[in-house]
């Protein structure tokens, strides 16, 4: 290739690029407020984020704009949403958040989906001063992380409280003589599953339980029947699985097939998904799982109805509500300050109490202690049975067959 030809091609290439980057600058109307968001639409975490994250972002933007926009000092401003897919890949995520901050120059960013992504993105939020109200991020390092990143907030609790919530349920049942002290526990051999099982072992043993069955299975195991058969062969009245979405479904399916007769059946992530009830119907009556809501408050009823109406699907019974609440907090803080001053908004979040669909939420050292840890399917609704500082917990019922 000669020099002139090369130059011509390089120019053509650069022109294309410039045109492409121009395309990303959509109408620069002064009366809108730009809000960015990055979360998986493809890849391993997409299944969860398309249930708990994206519909709530859409719902919130829809509602605010329907009201005429965010109330700022200079009048109402509609939200212009700029959304990117991170493909469940940290490198893509970091690039996308940088793009939002320095190219799209968005005014605020909605926190990412998933523990790893919230932590990987935290340095960027913190560098540009964006408040980051993390929801789907469960860690035992909240103290260290909030100290490091002064604009990072947590709302869904830490690992230990999840296990402690379930332990409290079991202790109460054991003390009233409804279950024996033997537990069959399994976990998916992957990050969060290992972490939860690790926290659970000493906690349950200290509470006087005996782990008569303690097994793990690799992520993506297609056949879980040996696990359920093994647990069934023990004397345990309680079955606990620190599971991920695919195996939550797989274990339940095997329990139905084997007619696994236990009094307590617990699976972790995705038990609160509407699809779980959709698949098993009445068979999962009294199954316990991670999360929960109080569906009986007026705010929650209204939220669930609007969610179905606007997005066409039901919210889950756990992180959906927290995600929407986090957006309400962001909204109230922006309106409270009345202008695009990110530092002021961050400080506003730190020092105020917010009315949300989950009731009043405030932050103590950037951490909200208002969340559900254990829920139970009761007559087609996944109700919270153990919470941290939320009213409306119902009594736990024993599982009675798989009908």
């Amino acid at each position: 290739m000669n020099k002139r030809k090369f130059l011509a091609r390089a120019t053509a290439g650069l022109t294309t690029l410039a045109a492409a980057s121009l395309l990303s600058f959509t109408a620069l109307a002064a009366d809108t407020i730009k809000i960015g968001t990055v979360a998986p639409k493809t890849g391993p975490l997409a299944g969860g984020s398309l249930v708990s994250q994206w519909p709530n972002v859409d719902l919130w933007v829809h509602e605010v704009n329907e009201r005429g926009g965010l109330k700022m000092k200079e009048g109402q401003k509609k939200i212009e949403l700029i959304a990117y897919d991170d493909k469940t890949n940290p490198t893509e995520h970091i690039k996308a958040v940088q793009r939002l901050a320095t190219q799209d120059k968005v005014d605020f960013i909605i926190a990412p989906y998933g523990t790893g992504f919230n932590i990987a993105a935290a340095p960027i939020y913190s560098k540009y001063g964006y408040p980051q109200i993390a929801v789907t991020s469960v860690t035992d390092q909240i103290g260290e992380l909030t100290e490091r990143f002064p604009s990072l907030f947590f709302t869904l609790g830490d690992t230990t409280s999840f296990v402690a919530g379930l332990k409290d349920v079991l202790v109460k049942l054991k003390d009233s003589g409804e279950i024996n002290n033997k537990i069959a526990m399994v976990n998916v051999a992957d990050a969060f599953g290992i972490e939860l099982a690790d926290v659970a072992r000493p906690l349950l043993q200290e509470a006087g339980f005996e782990l008569v069955y303690d097994k793990s299975y690799p992520l993506g195991t297609p056949d879980l029947s040996p696990i359920i058969k093994g647990a069934k062969a023990t004397e345990a009245d309680s079955f606990i699985a620190w599971s991920y979405p695919p195996d939550t479904f797989g274990l339940t399916e095997q329990a139905v097939i084997e007619n696994y007769d236990v009094k307590v059946f617990y699976t972790a992530v995705a038990t609160a998904f509407p699809a779980y009830a959709g698949k098993f119907g009445s068979k999962i009556e009294n199954v316990l799982g991670a999360g929960g809501v109080n569906p009986d408050t007026d705010e929650m009823k209204a939220y669930r109805a609007r969610h179905e109406e606007v997005t066409g699907k039901a919210p889950d019974y756990w992180a959906s509500a927290n995600t929407y609440a986090s957006l309400q907090i962001l909204e109230a803080a922006i309106e409270g300050v009345g202008e695009v001053d990110r530092e002021a908004v961050t400080n506003y979040i730190k020092s105020n109490t917010f009315d949300t669909i989950m009731g009043p939420i405030n932050f103590d050292d950037q951490n909200s202690n208002r969340f559900w840890t254990v829920g139970q399917w009761q007559e087609g609704v996944f109700r919270g049975v153990v919470s941290s500082n939320i009213e409306g917990a119902v009594d736990v019922k024993l599982k009675d067959g798989w009908n």
């Binding site: 290739m1 493809t42 490198t91 996308a96 940088q98 790893g116 990050a191 290992i194 690790d198």
Partner: protein, 309 residues
């Protein structure tokens, strides 16, 4: 030839110095693209070191990269070892692993090696999860350091430059000469008395060392490491695509491949956020079909034709 070689080394030297100034010119978005590009330049150059002369498509990059990232994370989180100590240990572990894999598969013909590396990242991820599950427990692996994007960029640039210089030296050594013969005809190489297996294993170990080192440097950028994320097969394929786009006959080929690929990829991501995997597949097909020798091959055939006419 020698004169040409030094000329290309000087050119690369100038490029490295120019690249070192990138963080002073820009930050934020373009710097984050530059960091990503530099990561792939280092990985693809290391890949070409082995796969260029041998013509073995190695899909082991993800495995080595993962070992680097994972060991740093587990060392810092589970054992409170400093980043720098882990940065020294992780590549050595990768070298030992490369030696074992190489010894087991490189004595056979290429196809066994390719198939083996295809499953390698997944196998190591499984192994790591098993160890975590049975011995270590997992508390979430955090790599919290004070490195900024600038620091990571410069470290990656340093690795890329080192890989290039090592490749340049190998090219001029007995080993490089042996590799060229092996690449052209392994049977002939054996008849000449070249220990082909040893030569291939040594080169594979060097590739493993630098791929793991890149994983080490990128770990602080991810901050939170899950085996799933660092042992991703995607990275192995991306590296192969970029290296093939550039062309593997020259060590500087990958540099020419990575930069346009990253920019095109970015444009696709922004414009068609819901169809990126489709475009990744299409670009793979297009490269193999239209540019079998990469951009470097295209440039060289064009210059040859230009000279002939």
């Amino acid at each position: 030839m020698t004169g040409q070689g030094f000329k290309s080394l000087t050119l690369i030297g100038v490029l490295v110095i120019a690249a070192a100034f990138v963080p002073f010119v820009t930050n934020g978005y373009w710097l984050s693209i530059a960091v990503t590009a530099m990561m792939y330049i280092a990985l693809a150059t290391a890949w070409t070191l082995f796969s260029g002369p041998t013509h073995y498509i190695s899909l082991a990059t993800g495995a080595f990269f993962g070992i680097g990232g994972y060991l740093v994370a587990t060392g810092m989180s589970d054992f409170d070892i400093s980043f720098w100590v882990m940065a020294a240990i992780a590549p050595i572990v990768a070298v030992v692993l490369a030696a074992l894999i190489g010894a087991a598969t490189l004595r056979l013909s290429g196809i066994y090696f390719v198939i083996f590396t295809l499953g390698l990242a997944e196998m190591i991820r499984g192994l790591v999860s098993w160890v975590q599950n049975n011995f270590l427990g997992s508390r979430g692996l955090y790599v919290l350091t004070d490195f900024t994007e600038e620091h990571i960029y410069w470290m990656l640039l340093g690795i890329a430059a080192t890989v290039y210089v090592i490749g340049w030296l190998i090219d001029r050594s007995k080993l490089g000469f042996a590799m060229k013969i092996i690449g052209n005809d392994e049977g002939v190489a054996k008849h000449l008395g070249i220990n082909t297996a040893r030569a291939k294993v040594i080169l594979f170990m060097i590739t493993g060392f630098f791929s793991a080192l890149v994983g080490v440097i990128v770990a602080p950028r991810y901050s939170y490491i899950e085996p799933n994320l660092v042992f991703s097969p995607e990275i192995s394929f991306m590296v192969v695509i970029m290296a093939l786009l550039g062309g593997t006959q020259r060590l500087w080929g990958p540099i020419i491949g990575v930069i346009p690929f990253i920019l095109i990829w970015e444009t696709i991501t922004v414009s068609f956020p819901n169809a990126t995997t489709l475009y990744l597949g299409l670009s793979f097909l297009a490269i193999v079909y239209f540019l079998p020798n990469g951009v470097v091959g295209l440039i060289e055939s064009l210059t040859k034709r230009g000279r002939a006419s």
